[in-house]
C-alpha cells in the first residue's frame, strides 16, 4: 500500500463530483484550502465535496473517502491506553504453564527470555526480547507521542514523526511471535506423557495488546502529522 505512488492520468483528470450530489453545501471551514482527497485503498485522487459530513466514496473502488479519518485521535488514544493497561497483566501473568514430572511451573514473557539467555541462545533471546517486550512498548510510546504531538507540537520534526509512524506500521505484527510459540508448544507437548504445556492467562492479555496496538496504528491518520495548526 502506497498512497503516494499515484500514476498520472492526464487524459481523464481526477474524478470530480460526488456519487450523490445532494450534500453539496457550503465549505465547512475544515475542507477549505484542500480540494483533493486521496483514496487510502486504491490511491485515486478525487475532488473533495464541500460539506460538513458528506460521506463521499471513491469513484473507482467505492472505499469511503475521508479528508481525515473520523475520530482518528480518539480511537488511537482509546486503543493505546487500553493496550498500555493490558501490557501490565501481559507481563506479570504467566503466558504458559509447563508440567514436567508432576511439577507445574509458570512461564512469563520475561522468564522465557531469561531461560533462552541462560541456555546460551543469545540471538534467539534477543529476537524474542525485541518482538515481545521492545516492540509493544515502542509502539505504545510512539503512538502516544504521535497522537499527543498532533495538537501540542504540530510542527515539531514532521519528517521524523512520519518515519516513526511508518516504522510502527511495519513492525507491528512481529509481536505475534510469542502467541504462535505458545500455541505450537502447547500442541506439540499435548501427546507427550513426560511434559505438557498450557497457555496461561497472560497470553490472552498479550494477544490483546498486539491487536490493540495494530488497531491503534491503523486508526491514526498519518495526514494529521502534516496538518497546519490553523487548519484543525
Amino acid at each position: 500500500m502506497s498512497p503516494t505512488a499515484l500514476p498520472g492520468q492526464p487524459e481523464d483528470g481526477p474524478h470530480s463530483g460526488p456519487p450523490s450530489g445532494q450534500h453539496a453545501g457550503p465549505a465547512a471551514g475544515q475542507d477549505s484550502g484542500t480540494g483533493w482527497i486521496g483514496c487510502k485503498c486504491c490511491g485515486l485522487v478525487s475532488a473533495a465535496v464541500p460539506g460538513p459530513s458528506a460521506p463521499q466514496h471513491c469513484p473507482r473502488c467505492n472505499h469511503t473517502l475521508h479528508w481525515r479519518k473520523p475520530m482518528s485521535l480518539q480511537r488511537t488514544w482509546a486503543c493505546v491506553l487500553a493496550a498500555a493497561v493490558l501490557y501490565v497483566p501481559a507481563n506479570l501473568l504467566p503466558i504458559m504453564h509447563t508440567t514436567q514430572a508432576f511439577r507445574s511451573s509458570p512461564h512469563t514473557l520475561l522468564g522465557g527470555i531469561a531461560e533462552l539467555w541462560h541456555d546460551g541462545a543469545w540471538a534467539l533471546a534477543a529476537i524474542v526480547f525485541i518482538a515481545s517486550i521492545a516492540v509493544p512498548l515502542m509502539k505504545i510510546g510512539a503512538l502516544a507521542l504521535l497522537a499527543w504531538s498532533v495538537h501540542y507540537a504540530p510542527q515539531w520534526r514532521r519528517l521524523e514523526r512520519a518515519r516513526v509512524y511508518a516504522l510502527v506500521e511495519a513492525v507491528g505484527h512481529w509481536s505475534m511471535l510469542d502467541v504462535y510459540v505458545v500455541v505450537l508448544l502447547a500442541a506439540m507437548l499435548r501427546f507427550g506423557s513426560v511434559a505438557s504445556a498450557q497457555a496461561g492467562p497472560g497470553l490472552l492479555a498479550f494477544a490483546a495488546v498486539v491487536v490493540l496496538t495494530m488497531v491503534a496504528a491503523n486508526s491514526f491518520d498519518a495526514r494529521l502529522i502534516w496538518q497546519d495548526p490553523e487548519n484543525q
Binding site: M1, P7, R60, L124, Y180, V183, L184, A186, R190, V211
Partner: protein
Amino acid sequence: MDVQSLLALTLAALLVFLIAHGSPVVTIRLGGSEARTTFPMAILAAWDAGEYGVALLSGVSAVLAPALFIGIRLYLLLPLALGRVPVGLAVCLRLLHHVSRWNTVEVLTVAALLSLVRIAALAQATAGPGLAALAALALLLAALESAGLHHLWWRVR
C-alpha cells in the same frame, strides 16, 4: 510485473501454502511414540483447550489471511490472464488491501523455529517439511506483496 508472472508466483504460493499447513512443522519422538504437529492442528488444540481468543487470532492471522491473500489473487489473475475482467474486481482489490495487513506468515516461520529450539530441551524434536514450506511461503508472499496490484486498478471501470 505482468499478469502472467504474477499468476505463476501466486500458483507457486498456493502449492507452498498447502504444504506449509498440511504437513508437520515439527515431529517429536518421546519414547517409542511419534507426534507430528501442523499449525492448523495446533490452533484446533488451543481451541479445544478453551483458548478461544488466542485460537481465533492465530487462525485469522496465520491461516485465513494468507489463504485469502492467495485465493483472491488467483480469482483475479486467472480471468485476467485469459483476457477477461473478473466480476467484482474493485471489491476484491479492496478486500486484498485489508487482508495483507493481517498476514503474518513470516512471523509464524520464526515462531516455529523458536518453538523447535525450546521443545528440544524437553523432547527429541526434528523439523518437518512444513517448516521449510513456511519459510518459502513467507518469501513468496513478500514477493507478491511488493509486486503489488496497483496497476490492476486501471482495469476498473
